[in-house]
Symmetry: C2
Subunit: 200 residues, 2 copies
DNA sequence: GTCTATAAGGCGATAGAC
DNA sequence: GTCTATCGCCTTATAGAC
């Protein structure tokens, strides 16, 4: 039995449901603003029962964060891998942005838990999640450096500030995105378009 | 005696100190992650004593939020007012961004409390602070609309997404800014430069 | 696997002494 | 204005029945 099968087997169905509800509440109300009783209530369970599946609240939020980061990494990697070998820097960065934003807004409860709570979590949790977070950021760093090396991003551009500005603009989208008006891909296209081509 | 004098008179010195400490802790640890005993401890006081100055924790955070918004509005308005009559759209928006970022990073405890906690606060607090927040956002909306009307921002630019992207990029700066490397004005200049001129 | 019951401690807030 | 003392409630977490 593969890891994936195990994850979705009935054995762990309850655990998955707990994670889903937790992700939703952590991302909406914050880690400190979410109490285990609320999570249990939503599942018609009692708070104590959660401890059969998780050994602590910290462990629970840690799993949510790890799944979120995995989701976003997978989505962005898939978007990049789907590109042809000879894709331009522009295509590469726009594809990455679309993947990032899709993971954030579509299955966003897990991913936006980290955005909403980063800096507000117990230190022990933060430390554990930082490693994979740095890895994800490094992927972007690489793509941006390559684009600048090829001359597709001007040499005078501060790419550290650029990367942080991209994350800033994209991540903030969770605070104002409403389904219906613009598609996720359109928003990513618009936001990256500002940066790539300018607005003037 | 003017309002300003009253604010700084010895009569309200303690209240001001409580606000300062509260702003720092709310912005760093979040509203729900900050307990009144921590605030009192920092001031060599007991938690109960805070209630001589504030009627509740909600009232306390509300005052912090209002001061923060006032700070940022004042700073941005001052930056705009300092411009000559015939300033260009570019100068206007860059000046606003510098003012915004300065208020955010320099006296940032008050201002970043709202950024850090928005959506994680009691509804009653959120409602009260929304009015002035909308007013501030409307100032930006106006400047951006005027710039597009003058043709300084291209007609095909989605200015709603633009405004939200500017806030996203600028506000996120609180998460990574370190004194020493780049000045606040340089960061604002760089970030607005990406948007105005593009990076390619 | 989930329940009830409860421990052990933290929280915001209040009352009254000083 | 600040203190001590405490109330009433809520929180995470555990133990043992079912």
């Amino acid at each position: 039995m593969s890891d994936l099968d195990k994850k979705n087997s009935s054995k762990n169905k309850t655990k998955t449901k707990i994670l889903d509800v937790s992700a939703r509440m952590f991302s909406k109300q914050g880690y400190n603003g979410t109490v285990l009783r609320d999570i249990a209530n939503e599942l018609n369970m009692k708070a104590g029962s959660l401890y059969y599946h998780f050994e602590s609240k910290e462990q629970l939020v840690l799993e949510v964060l790890n799944i979120g980061l995995q989701n976003i990494t997978d989505k962005v990697m898939a978007a990049i891998d789907a590109l042809p070998e000879d894709a331009t820097s522009r295509e590469r960065l726009f594809a990455a942005a679309k993947g990032h934003l899709t993971a954030l807004l579509e299955k966003g409860d897990y991913t936006s838990t980290s955005i909403r709570n980063l800096g507000l979590l117990p230190d022990s949790v933060l430390e554990e999640v930082m490693v994979s977070r740095k890895k994800y950021e490094n992927m972007w760093r690489t793509w941006i450096e390559e684009a600048q090396a090829k001359g597709d991003i001007r040499a005078d551009i501060n790419i550290k500030v650029l990367r942080l500005s991209i994350f800033g603009a994209l991540n903030r989208t969770v605070a104002w995105y409403k389904e219906g008006e613009l598609t996720i891909n359109e928003i990513a296209e618009i936001q990256m378009g500002f940066l790539w081509d300018g607005i003037s």
